[in-house]
């Protein structure tokens, strides 16, 4: 009995550490916590669902930006709109670093700096991919912890 509950505690601690590090390293902000507070027993995976939806939907938003960057000359108003959509979505899942890069992109966009936009967009895509990997690992682990919990809990 005490073995399984101490195993549970360890897993929980590991999960908490994973989460803390995501915050400490600046990948996530307060909005992620807000989303977690919307979870309950009937909706235990809400955050994962939102994040999955984000990654699914943002493929299209990223394509829009890429296509707009390939135009010659660049339509900066259109580009700004596309980035606004992508940034908004990213903010809604609490993607802090990603948001910073998007803000930098917007600055270049507003001054009509195409090269600056292109350079920054490489950073945006990098952060986007990094966060995706980290969150996938986090949710995968969270689900494992959830399974152990269920197995350990007396009915």
């Amino acid at each position: 009995m005490s073995n399984s509950s101490s195993r549970e505690r360890n897993l929980h601690r590991q999960l908490a550490n994973m989460k803390h590090s995501l915050f400490d390293q600046g990948y996530l902000d307060e909005q992620f916590i807000q989303l977690e507070e919307l979870q309950d027993e009937e909706n235990p995976n809400f955050v994962e669902e939102v994040v999955s939806l984000y990654y699914w939907d943002s493929v299209r938003l990223i394509q829009n930006i890429e296509q707009a960057l390939e135009q010659n000359p660049i339509d900066f108003a259109k580009l700004d709109n596309h980035m606004h959509q992508f940034k908004g979505s990213s903010c809604s899942i609490g993607a802090k670093k990603l948001k910073k890069e998007c803000t930098q992109f917007e600055k270049y966009c507003k001054t009509g700096n195409g090269e600056g936009c292109k350079r920054t967009f490489q950073q945006v895509k990098k952060e986007y991919a990094t966060l995706k990997k980290k969150l996938e690992r986090y949710f995968q682990f969270a689900r494992q912890v959830g399974c152990v919990e269920k197995a350990c809990r007396p009915k």
Binding site: D29, E30, E49, Q85, S89, C91, S92
Partner: protein, 194 residues
């Protein structure tokens, strides 16, 4: 069980949420459901007007008969903006009494002023939080109770009740309101998670 139009206390609030962002629609839906509201989420101002029966077409299906108690709309949307949607609603004799709340990730004061002047109930900075929704719900329920006492929209701007602190914050500078304006419009800070 009262089934009068204005008796929402016994019934659930029905909120029409308008946002072109799929992720935001999912989140606002959850926020509203947790706050015991019925939700209809649509992706554009055009769809919202269709749902409300205002699109000018005599569609045979039309408005599904579910009274809408509150409209929450994003400001920046392709096609019809939230501001344009607000104006259309406020110029409709059928719909002008429905409170409209604008949501925006950009806290531009001129934008906020414009929306409030056009009759928006509130202007929320995105991402919208649970506390925002809960506060809105209280405002709407209280508003329904005070139906007879409702005056012009402009008067609401001068209302000094705690629930319309945003409106109060926009009146000429007082030290207290400047501080609360900041806390209202500021983005959520990262909580210390240690």
């Amino acid at each position: 069980m009262g089934s009068e139009c204005s008796s929402v206390v016994a019934e659930e609030l029905h909120v029409l949420a308008v946002d072109d962002c799929l992720v935001d629609r999912k989140v606002i839906e959850r926020l509203l459901k947790i706050s015991s509201c019925k939700v209809t989420a649509v992706e554009s101002g055009t769809r919202a007007l269709q749902y409300l029966g205002l699109d000018g077409e005599k569609s045979s299906v039309g408005f599904d008969g579910l009274k809408v108690n509150l409209i929450m709309t994003d400001y920046s949307m392709p096609g019809m903006t939230g501001y344009e949607l607000l104006k259309k609603i406020k110029s409709s004799s059928n719909l002008r009494e429905i409170p409209v709340v604008i949501m925006s990730s950009e806290k531009v004061l001129a934008r906020i002023d414009r929306c409030l002047e056009e009759g928006a109930e509130e202007f929320l900075v995105k991402p919208v939080k649970l506390s925002d929704v809960k506060r809105l719900r209280d405002i709407i329920l209280r508003g329904d109770e005070n139906d007879e006492k409702k005056g012009s929209r402009k008067r609401k701007l001068q209302d000094l009740s705690p629930t319309s602190s945003l409106a109060r914050d926009l009146t000429p500078l007082k030290p207290a309101s400047a501080a609360s304006k900041q806390s209202r419009l500021k983005r959520p800070r990262l909580k210390n998670t240690d």
